[in-house]
Symmetry: C2
Subunit: 209 residues, 2 copies
């Protein structure tokens, strides 16, 4: 819960410092002294404005989730409303936004996953995020597939996103964005009716002219 009167610079400054610290030494060893050191301020600032370390961590996770949500919505906004495939690609693309696959953010995500298992507040954030991804996918898929099948495919795409993303965290080269997109588009194309694919291909051609 960020204090209201906080100078505008403090919040992003400390959230970025938190991710830097997690990136450098992991959540376990990311002390408030180290975090405030990265931000160039006193450790007491964290308690003053965030009510403690937990509050800062929650705000950091909220910040990452907001960025993810924004990345998806920006891409969706530029899509043809009736090109289901293009819209699914947009959702996937948002999840592999360059900000989200940055090493700093990836490590912070991983840290939050294990932390969220035992902190109800973070757990709810994580659940809400999962549900949003699933509901975005479902909304599109239900237009071209029967509801049960749409759910099945949505779960598969979500799993592919998370799985590729997780495996990328342990890859020396990080997340391979292009490979991720190719895998998921390839999957989607095997699952959607041929007519849906045609619509996508035609609209893509029109765009180029």
């Amino acid at each position: 819960m960020p204090k209201v009167g906080m100078p505008a610079i403090r919040k992003p400054q400390l959230i970025d410092a938190t991710m830097k610290a997690i990136d450098a030494v992991g959540l376990q060893k990311a002390s408030v002294v180290m975090i405030s050191g990265y931000a160039g301020v006193s450790p007491a600032i964290i308690n003053h404005y965030f009510g403690g370390k937990e509050g800062l961590l929650e705000e950091t996770m909220r910040s990452i989730l907001r960025q993810l949500s924004k990345a998806v919505q920006q891409r969706l906004a530029q899509c043809d409303k009736d090109d289901v495939i293009e819209r699914i690609i947009a959702i996937v693309g948002g999840n592999f936004d360059s900000q989200q696959i940055d090493s700093k953010v990836v490590k912070t995500w991983l840290a939050f996953w294990s932390l969220a298992m035992h902190q109800p507040q973070l757990f709810r954030l994580q659940r809400a995020n999962e549900k949003r991804l699933l509901s975005h996918l479902l909304l599109e898929l239900k237009r071209v597939l029967p509801a049960p099948r749409a759910k099945f495919v949505a779960l598969s795409i979500a799993a592919l996103i998370d799985g590729i993303w997780l495996r990328g965290a342990f890859s020396p080269n990080g997340v391979d964005k292009d490979l991720a997109q190719r895998i998921i588009i390839d999957y989607v194309e095997t699952q959607l009716p041929p007519q849906t694919l045609e619509i996508h291909q035609q609209r893509q051609l029109l765009k180029k002219n």
Copy 2:
């Protein structure tokens, strides 16, 4: 590195206690006092036999990895050598072995993922595990697909396994093993040549007689 003269009961006892503690309060708050409490021994035992908390955590991860490896190999051993699909199902099944999807083990996995990001020893274990899964899948897929495509499909299956598994960690009902298998088999069937599917179906029919 476990001390050699250790009584046989101590190691599994402390490893189980470690997972129980992580399941209960998370790795962050799983102190050596709590872990040794679950095991009903003194905290000093951990340093005596495992050289410290880190050593115990490493042994715990090794134990989980061994169990996973065993679950896969047991299933593969019972497979028809030439039924590629059956063998892929075996690999997937091993990864969703009932021991592996137990809440205690799932939470421990998550904790290790974030820990491994900053502990070279654990990172290597994690990498080796990933590579083994991929090479198991590749070995089978290369028999029925061209090498580049085999790699592509292997990565996809691995991502599906990890993704479903991760999402299950946040689901109130845990990992849905049957759904996982259905999703992955469904995917595999779209990717393999029709002939490979036929072999599988024929051999499955023969088995029943």
